[in-house]
């Protein structure tokens, strides 16, 4: 049963990996015939101009900037929201849910206008502005819930000891929110990593493209040949940083879960 679930989740990824290692003609051949393995797809992707690493770097930069910016804004918002009571908190929370559900497609024309007006096109850091904006509602909601999960007496104790707001956040509240910060950060990072529509319209310079756009631009010899192998190779390489990120963040999340069991 476990194996079945594992296969269900990993199957598409393994298939992608297999595709990336096959010659184009082997894609249509029966399974396990001859020796079709090759690294040609990877070579093709990496030999592009600019090299594929450049896109990886671009995406990492945007995603990191987005994550940092989002968390910097979301933490104070979430704390402030958690301090409110009754109708105000409920109303703002509802507004955030609504904002989190607005489809990006509706926004990207307006965002394009903004980019033109304020000269934000072809700037990776500028790209993190709309990303952070779009991620913010969800991040605030998640972090507000995390603030709410902390026992109120902890902060009271810190207030009595003379800790100011900044000190309470730094020494008491945020260290206890490691898991929530990590998981929120990963969600924001992922959203930015995968975003297509805004990146497509805001970035036109070839050396500034982010991964999704760069992958989409990998073309075949004609409209009739789709380079599946190259797509797959690029996707595999594009997923590696995420894999690394999740593996790194796994420890604090898991250790945080067990630490949450402590009472008082």
């Amino acid at each position: 049963m476990r194996l079945l679930v594992l296969l269900w989740s990993l199957g598409p990824l393994l298939w992608q990996l297999r595709t990336s290692l096959l010659r184009p003609e082997a894609l249509l051949a029966p399974l396990l015939e001859g020796n079709p393995w090759t690294l040609a797809n990877y070579r093709l992707v990496l030999s592009g101009d600019p090299p594929f690493w450049r896109y990886l770097g671009n995406s990492t930069l945007v995603a990191l900037a987005t994550t940092v910016l989002t968390l910097l804004l979301a933490v104070p918002c979430a704390y402030g929201l958690q301090q409110q009571r009754g109708l105000l908190r409920w109303g703002v929370g509802l507004g955030l849910v609504a904002a989190a559900m607005v489809p990006t497609v509706l926004l990207f024309l307006a965002l394009l206008e903004i980019a033109r007006r304020f000269d934000l096109a072809n700037d990776l850091f500028a790209l993190s502005l709309p990303y952070a904006g779009l991620s913010l509602p969800l991040a605030v909601l998640l972090l507000r819930a995390a603030f709410g999960d902390l026992p109120a007496e902890l902060e009271d104790a810190a207030r009595l000891e003379g800790l100011g707001l900044g000190q309470r956040l730094r020494h008491v509240l945020l260290p206890l929110m490691g898991p929530a910060l990590a998981s929120t950060g990963i969600l924001v990072f992922l959203a930015s990593w995968n975003e297509y529509a805004i990146a497509l319209t805001w970035i036109s310079r070839n050396d500034l493209l982010t991964l999704p756009i760069a992958i989409a631009r990998i073309g075949g010899g004609s409209v009739f040949t789709i380079p599946y192998g190259a797509f797959a190779a690029a996707t595999v390489m594009g997923s590696l940083p995420l894999l690394l990120l999740v593996l790194l963040a796994q420890r604090p999340i898991v250790s945080g879960l067990t630490r949450g069991a402590v009472k008082g």
Binding site: E153, D156, A158, R159, L160, E161, G164, H171, L176, A261
Partner: protein, 335 residues
């Protein structure tokens, strides 16, 4: 019982209202330096609210908190030099015992050498030296309570507040720790307020007891005063276990008689019928039926029961109440 001059803690008409609900209604109270006052009452009576107002964690709607004549009301919790031991202990789970104790000192900019000196002293006092590297999760309930107490003492507070500090411990440990807690907290120069819903703890810890109900002060006094001379029916019923018998002897008058003040004999003013007997070892509790309603009588474990028992008591033990308002009626009633 205000001490000489303005020394000590004084609450003046202190009140708190949230969303039209009155949590605390014009509380007047003084606690002398070095005195331990127990704030006693059922849950929701306003005792924790009072503590939070003294600490400054919640704003007061009315009234003032004065310490040695100075007004604390406008000060933030950090500026009040108040220490509080919370019911949950509120230890920082991510810090070691040492870290928990040091954080406040560090933030207030106490120099490292001075910090170490004070930390060493308090760890010694509470026998925590061996546990200094442990996290709260690795400590037992009693140890956590000691750390919370150490953190409060380290603050060198001008007021010490304890919010049900023992309610998370099992009954036996509670009894063991009570004298230790008393030794550590009371009898220093600062006033101490000890919040509890347990009358045994209140009697065991405090010099005086303030009994609250429904956000209002019911009575303040020594345990003996509250027991022997209750201001109203609530006080009479709250203190003393098993609880006082309230008998409807006449319209407009209710007679309160404590189970330990009743006795059974061949002769007596009221007849009674035995329903049940609880044997406690050092005493026995008898459940009886009488014309005035059910009655509990506490008597010696070996006391023989008459075949047709009658209830008797001494007039000095009679407590009379208004059955509607619960107010104490002074003067003797008709029997």
């Amino acid at each position: 019982m205000s001490a000489s001059g303005d020394a000590g803690l004084e609450l003046r008409r202190l009140g708190r209202e949230v969303g039209g609900r009155r949590l605390l209604d014009g509380l007047d109270l003084t606690v002398a330096p070095g005195e331990c006052l127990a704030l006693l009452g059922p849950s929701g009576c306003g005792k924790s609210t009072t503590l939070r107002l003294v600490a400054g964690l919640d704003p007061a709607s009315t009234g003032q908190v004065l310490l040695d004549g100075g007004d604390l009301t406008p000060l933030s919790p950090g500026e009040r030099q108040v220490a509080m031991v919370f019911q949950s202990y509120a230890l920082y789970p991510h810090l070691s015992v040492e870290g928990n104790l040091e954080l406040g000192l560090k933030v207030r900019g106490v120099a490292a050498a001075e910090r170490q000196r004070r930390l060493g002293a308090v760890l010694e006092l509470l026998q925590l030296a061996e546990l200094r590297q442990r996290r709260p999760a690795q400590l037992s309930g009693g140890q956590r309570q000691r750390v919370a107490l150490a953190r409060a003492l380290l603050r060198q507070p001008r007021i010490m507040l304890l919010d049900e500090p023992m309610s998370n411990l099992d009954a036996q440990l509670r009894e063991e720790l009570r004298p230790e807690l008393r030794r550590l907290v009371c009898g220093r120069e600062q006033p101490v307020i000890y919040v509890t819903h347990d009358q045994q703890e209140a009697v065991g810890m405090a010099d005086r007891i303030a009994l609250l109900d429904g956000g209002r002060m019911q009575q303040v006094g020594s345990p003996r005063e509250l027991y022997a001379d209750p201001a109203n029916r609530f006080v009479a019923a709250f203190l003393g276990r098993p609880a006082i018998n309230l008998l409807a002897v006449a319209p407009g008058r209710q007679l309160g008689l404590r189970p330990e003040h009743l006795h059974l004999a061949e002769e007596g003013p009221v007849e009674a019928r035995l329903l049940r007997r609880e044997w406690w070892g050092h005493q026995q509790l008898l459940w009886l039926d009488s014309p005035w309603g059910p009655v509990r009588v506490l008597c010696g474990p070996e006391q023989p029961l008459p075949a047709e028992p009658r209830l008797g008591w001494q007039r000095q033990h009679e407590l009379w109440f208004d059955p509607l308002s619960g107010a104490r009626l002074h003067g003797q009633g008709p029997v």
